[in-house]
Amino acid sequence: MDTSLESATDEAARLRTCLNDLISIMALPALWAGGEPPHIVGTLMDALVGTLRLAFVIVRFNDPEGGHSIEMVRVSESWGGPARAREISAAIDSAMGEAPQNWPSRVRVSIRDVELSVASARLGLDGELGAVATGSQRFDFPAETERLLLDVAANQAAIGLQQARLLSEQTRRANESERESRLIVDNIPGLVALLSATGYVEVVNRQLLEYFGQTLEELRQWGTNGTVHPDDLPHVVEVFTKSIASGTPYEIVQRLRRGDGVYRWIQNSGFPLRDTKGQIARWCVLLTDIDDRKRAEAELRRAYNSFADAQRLSKTGSFITDLVGDDHNWSEEAYRIFEFEPATKVTVQRVRDVIHPDDLPAFESVIARGMTGVNVNFAFRIVTGSGAAKHVRGVAHVVERVAGRPMFVGALQDVTETKVAEEALNRAGAELAHVSRITTLSALTASIAHEVNQPLSGIITNAGTCLRMLDAIPPNIDGARETARRTIRDGNRASDVVARLRALFSKREFTLEPLDLNEAAREVMALTSNDLQRNRIALHSELAEDLPVVTGDRVQLQQVILNLLRNASDAMVDVDDRPRELVIRTEREDGSRVRLTVRDAGVGLAPQSLESLFDAFYTTKSGGMGIGLFVSRSIIERHHGRLWAEPNDAGPGATFSFSIPQKADGVLNTVPARKTS
């Protein structure tokens, strides 16, 4: 009974010990949590040596990093300690084999003639992680409880190793991705920072460190160390904090202090990087120095504003136009002048809609000419959406051709105020001109009347006397003959008066000089442009570029041109069903002559009048004297040239032309050439 009782008591004590040991082994993972494999294995071995009172314990396991196996050995002090590790290892090799997964679970091993019981347990289901072997001098080792403890411990170690392997794998991957990120981040030509999910600055790239001239530690104090411009700080903190809390990207334009102490404008954009579960893992922050850009923008804005101011003050708008493609780029002021909404798409039709109806023909004519790719000048009235009537004038020049289409750059000006003043001035001027013309005309008429009336008076008196002498009884034949003779003489005198009249109109000394007919024509056009505009006549000039210099009397030739333009203008005064177009053209003629042509779209010429046109006092105009063309012809004849008129081939109107030789030979020889500079 005592024996059985004693053994029962022993059994209970053994079980208690086993349970205690089991509990401490079960607690092992807490000791090695997160540790490296050697640490796990070391902890395991220490626990086994302690609980099982072993002679030695040996663990061979595969290093999860490198793949090669590692052996760790613990030898109890009573068995000689670590010094005998190699000896024991070799004995295990020869008794159990080198490969731990093939180790038998229990063998007897003799080391230095001492018999030992060796029990092994695999790490992992098939020993893929390795195995642990424990040696004891006790013959009955391992007892059932010891085997249990060994297996449980091995199992715990296997789990620990596996976790360590996973952890190391993760770490490796993380390191790899960290390296990659690092590589990317350092190579981005910008300033990049990676923040934790809570906004803590974890890493920044090299460029960022260099830019701010701070260490990572210093940068982490960005909220307090003056890196952010004090004026911007409250706003930045607010936006940043809100964004981190809500997980939404932010973008702030702010000033940050560069390494050299200068605050620069920076665009700061931050956006969250999420893991596979959609949780925010990190924040990526990109800082872009936009100071230069901002400065350039400000500069541009200033320049634009002053440009816009200048346009507004001068009421001048500018435009770039692809007329053929009907694509127009207008400046703000151009929009303002036309009172178009800023978003309006400008088209020719849109502009046409506001052109004053009376000026539509002139407008169409400008558009048609522009379509052919020539520079144009224009002047017309518009009636804007608000009902305001404005005078607009401008120029458009072809600057280049894109795909064969002319690209115009031009300016248009609101000249309403000038125009109104000018019109008042012009009216006054025109009235004055009219008065002076009338005055001149009446003086001229009186002079002509006086000159002609004298001989006429003589003719009538003599003829009357002559008749009376013939009627007398007896007839006074001698007297009659004498009075008839005087009648003839007075007739000749009248004719002389006309000849003198011709001379009167060219009383100025005939002065020859080399002259540019184009320039002479341009001066006349400038003189008459107001008159023409008042009569709503569109004057187009087609002046030949290769026109040779001619010799002539500049003033007289200009009188002729002026006369032709006035006639053409007058001929169109009553034209309302077509554009009042006037074309002045110069061209080189064969045989070193030059020709100037003035074409109108006026009432035209009756064929029978073609010859009498140039006679003195011939006129179709109610207010005219009919001297202009007569004098013009005499001037052109003095230049050894020719002046003629013809009806237009196509369309209504007439064309007057004169042609003069380059050198007015003969005349040149009789008048000493003037000095020319």
Binding site: E451, N453, S457, I459, T461, R468, R486
Partner: protein, 124 residues
């Protein structure tokens, strides 16, 4: 008994008038004398015998109206018919207001001249 025809003196710087007009006036039955200027007439012997004067308005030196004033100064009341090649019709009323009998604009018809001369002689 001899009837001396009334003397009509003509003052005009225009030669063709001096040639033609006296002939016509004589055809009317008057005696006629022509002078190239007012000065020539005034210094002639015919001033007192002249019963009617035909004077051109615009002449170099003394003009027609100048001559009219000079005669008035000399208390010579000779009826005057002015002739002119000017087209200024307003001149006529002015001259008539100053005592002229008539003002004829060249070219004038012989009837108009005869009527004027008859009127002048009646007045005279």
């Amino acid at each position: 008994m001899t009837v001396t025809p009334s003397l009509v003196s003509i003052v005009d710087d225009d030669e063709s008038v001096r040639e033609s007009l006296p002939d016509l006036v004589r055809q009317f039955g008057f005696a006629a004398e022509a002078f190239a200027s007012a000065e020539a007439f005034l210094s002639s012997q015919f001033v007192n015998q002249t019963t009617c004067l035909i004077i051109d308005i615009a002449m170099p030196g003394m003009s027609g109206p100048d001559l009219q004033r000079e005669l008035a100064n000399r208390r010579q009341t000779i009826p005057i018919v002015f002739i002119t090649a000017s087209g200024d019709k307003t001149i006529r009323s002015r001259l008539l207001a100053q005592g002229a009998t008539e003002c004829l604009f060249k070219p004038f018809s012989e009837t108009a001249l005869l009527d004027a001369l008859n009127m002048a002689l009646r007045m005279g």
